[in-house]
């Protein structure tokens, strides 16, 4: 149940599995309001991450080391908008997780840093129908659990649930950032692919913490 280096590595493997499974679905979401490559992009990226993890001689010392490896791998293999966004998210997260293990506040710090990375690069705010609409409620939920004395695991669960709800809540939104924005009102009525994959990544973090 501890969010340590082994957890971080499991998180990424769980994510890779989940993305592979959801690939067609993510791509279909992106086909409708984007260009139909989001599932393929992330699958390519997380397969590369898995390969990198497989290639490690020994596990790194700190959670941040894992996240940094994830960041650089995603940046160099995903492409598209989501590549630099997720890449920067994990890079910023790595910077605040130079620890062998995370407590509840460390977990919040990770999520917060990730969100900051995404908004620094992408300049989106809540309500623009992007992955920010999943990350922001996730950060908020984790924060309130942590400040209420919850465990790191509790914080993660709350984040994942909030991200899922946030992703679902993108359906009625009008996109004003990213490729979907070109559709104007036709972007309404469809769930954002990036918000959906964010929910998927955070759900994988929870699973990884439970499998141990």
């Amino acid at each position: 149940m501890t969010l340590d280096v082994a957890w971080a590595m499991r998180w990424m493997r769980c994510t890779a599995e989940a993305v592979a499974e959801a690939k067609t679905g993510l791509t279909e979401l992106d086909r409708v309001i984007g260009d139909g490559d989001h599932g393929e992009n992330l699958d390519r990226g997380f397969r590369a991450v898995t390969a990198k993890l497989d290639g490690l001689e020994s596990p790194p010392a700190q959670v941040g080391d894992v996240l940094k490896l994830v960041a650089t791998t995603l940046m160099s293999s995903v492409g598209g908008a989501s590549g630099p966004l997720y890449g920067t998210a994990f890079l910023r997260a790595a910077k605040v997780t130079g620890l062998p293990e995370l407590d509840a506040h460390g977990t919040v710090a990770l999520l917060e840093a990730a969100l900051e990375g995404i908004t620094a690069r992408g300049k989106a705010v809540v309500g623009e129908k992007t992955m920010v609409d999943a990350w922001q409620p996730a950060v908020d939920a984790a924060e309130s659990v942590a400040s209420g004395g919850g465990t790191a695991h509790d914080a993660l669960v709350a984040a994942a649930d909030a991200a899922a709800a946030g992703a679902a809540a993108t359906v009625p939104l009008l996109a004003t950032k990213g490729r979907a924005s070109y559709l104007g009102e036709r972007s309404q009525g469809h769930q954002d692919p990036g918000a959906t994959s964010t929910a998927l990544i955070l759900a994988a973090a929870v699973r990884a913490s439970e499998e141990e």
Partner: protein, 331 residues
């Protein structure tokens, strides 16, 4: 989906291999990471020109690598921006010491990935300027969108900036002329059919047999609106009007008229569109001084076309006319 491909995952790589073999006199193709550079060493003192973007728009960009145009091109996966680790070595290969101009089409993915690559280049003390091409008038309200997209006008930017670099302009001057082209070029496109990304296997959007998509992008993303199928003249009217209006063209001005095919439309139809577009411009007293008709910025096998108008001035015309020797553009 029927395509002349092997494993869809290998499509970009195998295209590059074929391209490199067919044009070994012009380019050197690198595969891991993937980028295409002019054959030979970069000419000392010449500003390097690098562009890139998702694959599936061939001949853009690799087909424009060569004398008088690009020094390097960086192809991403199909319709997906390339990654910084591809872009950075392309910058390096293009840099003879006089700096590099990156020509980026305005898509969030392209902008973010090039931005990251520029940050990497700066760490290496490499001087990289960036221009962002956004000629697509289909995106009306750029306050509420990611901004106008870069589409077929990119060819004019690459050609003219390439000529400026070739004649010895410095980085600031090449950047300025590229920006002048961007400021004066506008495009509007139409799709009669969608296209199919190889690894997706189904059309990128849905169109019935009697509708067309006006204001189409070049990444398989849907356009501004669907309208009923119409005659070539009626469709061309819908493409030319917003372009002319946005440019604010006045009688007596000279322009370059580019009718670009989306990949699956025969050139005979492109000339029918050209004929009408030229007539509409002439009606307004606009002089079509230069023309280009063909497949230059495509969307795989999509059927459709775009109309691009570039307002010319004597210097832009001279740079357009300057020699170019690439796989896809040569004079």
């Amino acid at each position: 989906m029927k395509k002349l491909l092997n494993d869809p995952q290998d499509a970009v790589k195998e295209t590059l291999e074929g391209f490199g073999a067919a044009h070994a006199d012009l380019v050197t193709v690198h595969l891991d990471p993937a980028y295409v550079v002019r054959a030979g060493e970069p000419r000392a003192g010449k500003v390097g020109l690098v562009s890139g973007g998702g694959s599936g728009h061939e001949p853009l960009h690799a087909g424009f690598v060569g004398l008088g145009m690009l020094d390097a091109a960086v192809p991403g996966a199909v319709f997906t921006s390339p990654t910084p680790d591809q872009i950075a070595p392309a910058f390096e290969a293009a840099d003879s010491g006089a700096g590099v101009l990156a020509i980026v089409k305005n898509y969030t993915g392209d902008v973010l990935n090039f931005e990251t690559a520029v940050e990497l280049a700066e760490i290496d003390d490499r001087q990289v300027a960036t221009v962002v091409v956004n000629d697509d008038v289909a995106v009306e309200d750029s306050l509420y969108t990611a901004g106008r997209r870069g589409v077929a006008g990119t060819v004019a930017v690459e050609k003219i900036a390439g000529a400026a670099a070739e004649r010895g302009d410095d980085l600031a001057a090449v950047t300025a002329v590229a920006q002048r082209v961007i400021d004066n070029v506008r495009t509007m496109g139409v799709a009669l059919t969608a296209c199919t990304v190889p690894h997706v296997g189904k059309p990128s959007f849905d169109l019935t047999d009697d509708e067309i998509e006006i204001g189409i992008g070049i990444h398989g993303e849907p356009g501004r609106h669907k309208v009923p199928m119409a005659s070539a003249d009626e469709i061309t009217d819908q493409l030319v009007a917003p372009v002319v209006e946005d440019l604010g063209l006045a009688s007596g001005e000279e322009v370059l008229l580019l009718v670009n095919g989306m990949g699956g439309t025969p050139s005979s139809e492109l000339y029918v569109v050209y004929r009408r577009a030229r007539a509409l411009l002439s009606e307004r007293g606009v002089v079509v001084a230069r023309s280009l008709v063909g497949n230059y910025v495509t969307s795989l096998e999509m059927q459709g076309a775009s109309v691009t108008v570039l307002r010319l001035d004597p210097e832009l015309t001279e740079l357009w006319d300057a020699p170019v020797h690439t796989a896809a553009l040569r004079w």
